[in-house]
């Protein structure tokens, strides 16, 4: 494999969910949760994936891991297409790709101590078979995430939200992954703790050469941590580029509206700031609008937008946007 080949490449990923038409005879429909998404992540890079609820960003993450089997498209990880692998073939891959979830409480087993939670993946994947060495590795993992050795004897409910998220991160690290999918890893945490966890994720990335897909809705946090950012709307990527271009010169009207909706903790500045308040709401992915899915809320839409779905096209070096007016 070439050195500069991306660690992960997603090609035209589609995930449709069939709903209704069941026992109660509701009308059957297809939710186009992910509708033709393509991107690549280079080794050591952080790609931010942002969008509002229901845009499909979490489903993309689940499809990468094959927790959801995509309807079509390819997920190439270290050159292999994961969508063609069966469960047995996927097991070693899942060592290489880990997830950190939003709510550390519901993703940690309440009946296991922190030590047991961290030792489990070491046993399951036959990473450390010797019991004593396992204890040592658990202590090492705890110290990587800023916890103390005595935390190994605690249960999740005895920890604060920030400490639980540290355990979730340590568990992901246990199997020495190459890629970590961070699904809203700080949005359930208190503001004063969020910065601690972000700093920790950055330190670990530098220390272990990790690659992150950072799925989140908070645009300020995403700007801080990402090298490149993709913006999703109704199952599609509407803009993708490096961090600086996305925040300094956003080209898609949805990206512009999202950025202008982010509140800034400064009343003097907020008082002068022009805000693009988008009308309407995100349409249902069951029945997306014809043409460009954003046109009903778009402040600059023209007739052509109602008829024609825009391609995600190159509008500058490494900068793609799905808008005919961009």
């Amino acid at each position: 494999m070439k050195e500069d080949a991306p660690l992960l490449e997603v090609r035209n990923l589609v995930k449709h969910f069939h709903v209704g038409g069941g026992l109660f005879g509701g009308r059957a429909g297809v939710v186009r949760a992910v509708d033709g998404v393509s991107f690549a992540i280079r080794r050591g890079e952080t790609l931010g994936l942002v969008g509002e609820s229901g845009c499909g960003k979490t489903t993309v993450g689940r499809c990468l891991l094959q927790l959801e089997r995509p309807t079509s498209g390819q997920v190439l990880f270290e050159g292999r297409d994961l969508t063609t692998l069966d469960e047995d073939e996927l097991r070693p891959i899942r060592r290489r790709v880990q997830v950190i979830f939003q709510d550390p409480y519901s993703s940690l087993n309440p009946r296991m101590t922190v030590g047991q939670i961290l030792a489990e993946p070491l046993m399951v994947h036959d990473i450390v078979t010797d019991r004593e060495r396992r204890g040592q590795r658990v202590r090492e993992l705890l110290s990587h995430v800023g916890l103390l050795a005595q935390h190994a004897h605690r249960y999740p409910h005895q920890l604060s939200g920030g400490q639980r998220q540290r355990v979730g991160i340590a568990r992901a690290l246990a199997v020495e992954p190459a890629l970590i999918i961070c699904d809203e890893p700080v949005s359930a945490l208190d503001v004063s703790i969020q910065a601690q966890i972000i700093n920790l994720l950055e330190d670990l990335q530098a220390g272990f050469g990790l690659t992150y897909l950072f799925v989140a809705h908070d645009l300020s946090v995403v700007r801080h941590i990402s090298d490149r950012v993709a913006v999703m709307y109704l199952g599609k990527i509407v803009e993708i580029t490096d961090r600086k271009s996305l925040y300094d010169v956003p080209r898609h009207p949805y990206t512009k509206a999202l950025l202008s909706a982010v509140p800034i903790p400064d009343p003097a500045l907020e008082g002068q700031r022009e805000r693009v308040v988008l009308g309407g709401e995100v349409p249902s992915p069951l029945n997306p609008p014809a043409g460009c899915a954003f046109h009903p809320r778009c402040p600059i839409a023209i007739d052509r937008c109602r008829a024609e779905g825009p391609e995600l096209r190159e509008i500058g070096p490494g900068h793609r946007a799905a808008c005919i007016l961009a």
Partner: protein
């Protein structure tokens, strides 16, 4: 109470104390807290989970869940009357009619089996004695006012047929229905997407101006209220640790916790920093608070006195800016924004 400008105090909370009895001891969720809201004013109560902001709101409405939770001291003067002394019957007239409420999760605060129309008309008929026909007309008017299109048809629908943003609009319509003088909004936009948050906050501010309704916004997010609040109270471990006009407090925070909160969040209007500046340590365990100031274990400015003696709220200027910190005077030279790199 009359202020210099002739604006009178609508709600005045004095030395409020609300305690919870838990297996691990008594939790002083609200620990001797005083603050007020003037007529037509928007006041924010800001703090992280467990700081006592929501319990403060529940205490004002006398909705603290007993027997574990109990208001053990203080007064809540609403238009001069202590509502902690009202009978349950009288209290029901205050709730909904004089003080409207908007909560974080509209789906759980709406009745799923009653139509939107019925939920709006109920209050109008009970509190204002309207006839069903009049109440229905007013309900449609209210839905229109909060920007719900086609209100006549919408009245016949049920909460599950509304999106999250629409439900929150509907909650605001319900809160406004009986023309209250105060709206109490507990995390009104936290469950909503960022583009919808902006819509809802703009709507609330617009309506509060139009009808002269005062608002109490409770939130964990200092960013959300920057644009909308006149005054901000910051809570930590059951106490107010800083209060001031929004402009003053964000520009010149005089409590290390407020300063820490403002410094820890990345901001879109500033160059990206190489590293974030978190508040170290963990949020306090209310059953085992340290002696002295509860923020001491996490504070970068603490001195010996802080671990012994709890600092009172004291004025830091003549404009009503107060801080509960022994070192408040030394914080004026600390920049809110760390140098960008």
């Amino acid at each position: 109470m009359l202020h210099s400008a002739g604006v009178s105090t609508l709600l005045s909370v004095e030395n409020l104390q609300t305690h919870f009895v838990t297996r691990s001891g008594v939790v002083r969720a609200v620990d001797d807290v005083s603050w007020d809201v003037e007529e037509g004013e928007t006041v924010a109560l800001v703090g992280e989970s467990g700081c006592g902001k929501s319990v403060s709101a529940l205490s004002i409405m006398r909705l603290v869940a007993g027997p574990a939770g109990r208001i053990v001291g203080g007064r809540v003067l609403f238009k001069g009357r202590d509502i902690l002394k009202l009978s349950e019957e009288e209290m029901r007239r205050v709730r909904g009619r004089e003080i409207g409420m908007v909560f974080q999760e509209p789906m759980t605060s709406l009745n799923p089996v009653l139509s939107i129309g019925r939920q709006l008309t109920e209050g109008l008929e009970i509190h204002l004695g309207m006839t069903p026909a009049d109440a229905r007309r007013r309900a449609a008017e209210l839905l229109g006012m909060v920007g719900i299109p086609d209100p006549e048809r919408r009245l016949a629908q049920y909460p599950h047929q509304f999106s999250g943003g629409m439900r929150q609009r509907m909650m605001i319509a319900m809160a406004l229905a009986c023309k209250p003088s105060l709206i109490l909004a507990d995390e009104p936009t936290t469950a909503l997407d960022v583009t919808i948050q902006a819509q809802i906050l703009e709507l609330m501010k617009d309506l509060s101006r139009r009808f002269g309704v005062a608002m109490l916004i409770i939130t964990h997010n200092l960013g959300v209220v920057a644009r909308y609040a006149d005054r901000v109270n910051v809570m930590y471990a059951g106490r107010i640790i800083e209060r001031g006009s929004a402009r003053e407090l964000y520009a010149r925070p005089r409590h290390p916790y407020t300063l820490g909160l403002l410094r820890s969040v990345p901001r879109l209007d500033e160059p990206r920093r190489a590293r974030l500046d978190p508040i170290e340590g963990q949020p306090p365990d209310l059953t085992r608070l340290p002696p002295g100031c509860a923020f001491t274990p996490r504070c970068a400015f603490s001195v010996a006195r802080c671990g012994v003696e709890s600092p009172p709220l004291a004025a830091v200027d003549q404009g009503g800016h107060v801080s509960a910190c022994w070192e408040a005077a030394h914080l004026d030279r600390v920049p809110v924004r760390s140098a960008a790199t």
